[in-house]
């Protein structure tokens, strides 16, 4: 496969306002040619993922020798600093605790449903930690741990799954899109946020997340293409956890890898071990940096595994073998990081206990918050459909209010009757 050199040299974005000539934004003087200059590699080598996934710390918790990290010229990564790693480990432990706690709350009937990211915590944490304060994240419904790691209140995050409302946190304030169940629609929202920021000259980066199955959706294609054509600072982060509910990746795509899809849009792709938070921080960190520097969008595919069923309503034994799950237990993101940090002398029993305590505090917060019966307000049904309710909504709101008043009156009356 070759990409014509002309592709990168395409007319340096004509800013001719009167003709409105090609290239929206500042596109075609594009990412590729910039990267070619920056890294001294060909366009193909820039856009295609490295031949192997990037992995820094292997499943046994030891640091891979540099030559075995999957890097190659133009795809080079530096080891994150100790402080960053310790902060990430703390979030990993919290994230695992959150997943376990939420699953328990579902079993106890305190929450309607919880799509757990058990096993994917490294992706969740890295997604949050790679962003700066002014950046935006667009998560999927399985990314609650990432949302919390971004600083959103845990109980507010779970509002959607508890069933109080369709969303519980202020998306604009936190710069975190509301978790939703349609697939990849949020990627386009991320593209729009990045586009608006770029037009205003802000240096915002957007991390837009989806799963492996979602790459089959039309909006995945449209989002990547729009981001590339408009040359926008969006990092598309695909957590390839191998299954879309029950359907394995082989039924979604026969591309060499999902990261290879990037080249079709004229952007760079990379594969990373999604259970190695060291590599994730390095790869996502570089992607965010490049995007901020104006290299356009990037696509990062993380290889991970959904250790549990899709949700509590799913039965994973119907479509996959226990032996397959067991293989991934050995690749767990927490245990390898614990080993690595302990061996490095960064993590000792005291630090570990302190971290466990923090995780327990979040679990308690979730337990307490979700055990509390928060009354729902029926009139909220009408309040937020529009900024100002229509006359029709006002009528319907009055009708419900009247129903409720009559209910209350008849209950009061039967109570009085019973008392007699």
């Amino acid at each position: 496969m070759t990409i014509s050199a002309d592709h990168t040299a395409q007319h340096p974005a004509s800013e001719d306002q009167t003709t409105g000539a090609p290239a929206p934004g500042s596109a075609p003087e594009d990412a590729a040619s910039e990267a070619v200059r920056k890294f001294g590699i060909s366009v193909e080598d820039y856009m295609l993922p490295a031949r192997h996934q990037i992995q820094m710390v292997g499943p046994d918790g030891t640091l891979n020798p540099h030559a075995e990290q999957g890097t190659q010229p133009g795809h080079e990564y530096t080891l994150p600093g100790d402080e960053e790693l310790m902060a990430a480990y703390e979030q990993l432990v919290v994230g695992r605790r959150v997943n376990d706690q939420n699953s328990a709350l579902v079993r106890q009937g305190r929450m309607a449903v919880y799509p757990s990211s058990h096993g994917q915590e490294a992706c969740q944490v890295a997604a949050a930690l790679c962003l700066s304060e002014g950046d935006w994240m667009f998560p999927t419904y399985r990314d609650s741990v990432a949302v919390m790691a971004r600083g959103v209140d845990p109980v507010q995050t779970m509002t959607l799954f508890r069933g109080d409302w369709h969303g519980g946190y202020d998306a604009a304030k936190h710069k975190v899109g509301i978790q939703c169940t349609p697939l990849t629609t949020q990627l386009l929202h991320g593209v729009g946020v990045a586009h608006a920021a770029k037009l205003r000259g802000e240096d915002t980066v957007v991390l837009a997340m989806c799963g492996d199955g979602a790459t089959s959706e039309g909006d995945f294609h449209e989002a990547l293409n729009f981001a590339a054509v408009f040359h926008l600072p969006v990092v598309f982060f695909v957590q390839n956890n191998q299954y879309a509910i029950s359907v394995p990746l082989a039924h979604q795509s026969v591309a060499p890898s999902l990261a290879h899809k990037a080249v079709g849009y004229g952007m760079a792709g990379e594969r990373v071990d999604g259970n190695d938070i060291v590599a994730l921080l390095a790869v996502l960190g570089r992607a965010v940096r490049l995007a901020r520097e104006g290299s356009g969008p990037l696509l990062v595919e993380a290889h991970t595994y959904r250790m549990q069923a899709h949700t509590n309503a799913d039965d994973a034994t119907r479509y996959r073998q226990d032996s397959e799950v067991a293989e991934w237990v050995a690749k767990d993101p927490l245990s390898r990081m614990k080993t690595y940090l302990t061996d490095r002398g960064l993590l000792d029993d005291d630090r570990a206990a302190g971290i466990a305590e923090k995780a327990e505090a979040v679990a308690t917060q979730l337990r307490d918050g979700l055990s509390e019966e928060v009354p729902v307000e029926p009139q909220d049904l009408f309040k937020y459909v529009f900024s100002t309710p229509t006359p029709q909504l006002k009528e319907q709101s009055a009708m419900l209010a009247d129903e409720l008043a009559r209910d209350a009156a008849s209950k009061a009356a039967s109570k009085t009757e019973a008392a007699k």
Binding site: A13, E15, Q17, T18, T19, G20, A21, P24, G25, S26, E29, W136, W165, H166, G167, D170, A171, A172, K173, G177, I178, C180, P182, T185, L187, L188, H189, G190, V191, G192, V193, A194, H195, A196, A197, K198, L199, R200, G201, G218, D219, H221, E222, A223, N225, F226, V229, D380, K383, Y384, V385, F386, S387, T390, P391, Q392
Partner: protein, 370 residues
């Protein structure tokens, strides 16, 4: 290389923004015109230009809206006037256009986007129904989506399949979308300005067969009216209009059917029957008050729409009117709508479209002998 737009980033709920926009309009728009004959297309184009002058966060994008000015030329000249950062072509993907607009609206912009034709908007249906319509409710008002989706709709132009659908019912059925449809040149300007000012998303349905209809309007007067309405918080948003007063029966129509209803009323007048014509203008919110006041007065009504009658806006209007005006009715409400068939090929469309004769037949049927 680095397009910069300075904006007050007013999107999510800055109340003074509307006032600021209005003041800027008055200052920025220089061409004083006086009464002149213009097309609906020009009125819509002027509305966008005036709004863009007033507020740098207003962006126009879609397919072919840049250099070409849109296939109907409604965005003509906007790229030239405002630059490619503010009026630009997108890749050919409607879901992408709407989805990107959602994100832009979340982040301080007020996008006004064009779907090239009614049926070409269907790839964007999920974005419109699941996000455009629901974001405000989902976030309890924390995220507003001040965006306008312009849709050239309906037939009567001899268009091929997929270019003539009356798709308004899909949007009207979706809670959280306002649905406007102008029928006159002046309303083209007035209603598009109001749609752009709205902090809620608006499906702006443009009757494409009326694009080249002409009328004498005073754009300066319309601008002044808009400024005044903005300052006073009054506007015609959500209100139906009496397009022709009458006493014997009410014709209720919207968009492309309004001129047909007016023609029918003129013909009926020659036969000595006085028909009132109501232009619905805003399908959502619906102006029960104006419509019902007319029907209570006349006691008879015919609803006219190009769209299929089954499960349609016209059936909703009939239901609402009979619920509210039953005791004033001298006859069952009749409907004259498109047949429940896919929009016909050009040589057959005149059989399908509600015409003057079919409307007059329906009026004749309103039990006058009682």
């Amino acid at each position: 290389m680095n397009p910069t737009i300075t904006t007050s980033s007013e999107a999510n709920g800055n109340v003074s923004a509307a006032t600021a926009r209005a003041a800027a309009t008055a200052a920025a728009v220089a061409d004083r015109t006086g009464p002149q004959t213009i097309t609906l297309a020009k009125a819509l184009n002027t509305a966008m230009a005036d709004a863009m002058h007033a507020d740098p966060s207003i962006l126009v994008f879609g397919e072919d809206v840049g250099m070409l000015g849109g296939v109907f030329r409604i965005t003509d000249g906007l790229t030239k006037t405002f630059g490619r950062s503010r009026c630009f072509d997108t890749p050919l993907a409607e879901s992408g256009i709407v989805g990107m607009a959602v994100g832009m609206a979340m982040n301080g912009m007020r996008p006004v986007i064009e779907m090239q034709f009614d049926a070409f908007a269907y790839p964007a249906f999920e974005q419109i129904v699941s996000h455009v319509a629901k974001m405000h409710n989902r976030t309890k008002g924390a995220v507003k989506l001040p965006m306008v989706i312009r849709v050239p709709y309906a037939g009567g132009i001899g268009g091929v399949e997929h270019h003539c659908d009356s798709s308004e019912a899909y949007y009207a059925h979706t809670a959280g979308l306002k649905v406007f449809t102008p029928a006159t040149v002046a309303d083209g300007y007035r209603m598009l300005r109001e749609a752009i000012d709205s902090d809620d998303p608006v499906m702006f349905m443009e009757p494409k067969k009326l694009y080249w209809s002409k009328d004498q309007v005073d754009l300066d007067a319309l601008r002044a009216e808009h400024t005044e309405n903005t300052q006073r918080g009054t506007s015609s948003e959500g209100r139906a209009a009496v397009a022709r007063p009458g006493t014997d029966a009410t014709l209720i129509a919207y968009g492309p059917s309004v001129p047909t209803a007016l023609a029918a009323a003129a013909a009926a007048a020659e036969e000595g029957r006085s028909l009132e014509v109501i232009d619905v203008r805003s399908i959502v919110p619906f102006d029960d008050e104006t419509v019902c006041a007319s029907v209570r007065k006349t006691g008879r009504a015919v609803v006219i729409a190009e769209a299929h009658g089954f499960a349609s806006v016209s059936s909703e209007i009939v239901a609402r009117v009979q619920e509210r005006c039953f005791h004033h009715l001298a006859a069952p409400i009749r409907r004259v709508t498109g047949f429940d068939v896919p929009y016909p090929a050009p040589k057959l469309e005149h059989y399908y479209l509600p015409g003057v004769d079919r409307i007059l037949d329906a009026v004749d049927d309103l039990q006058w002998e009682d």
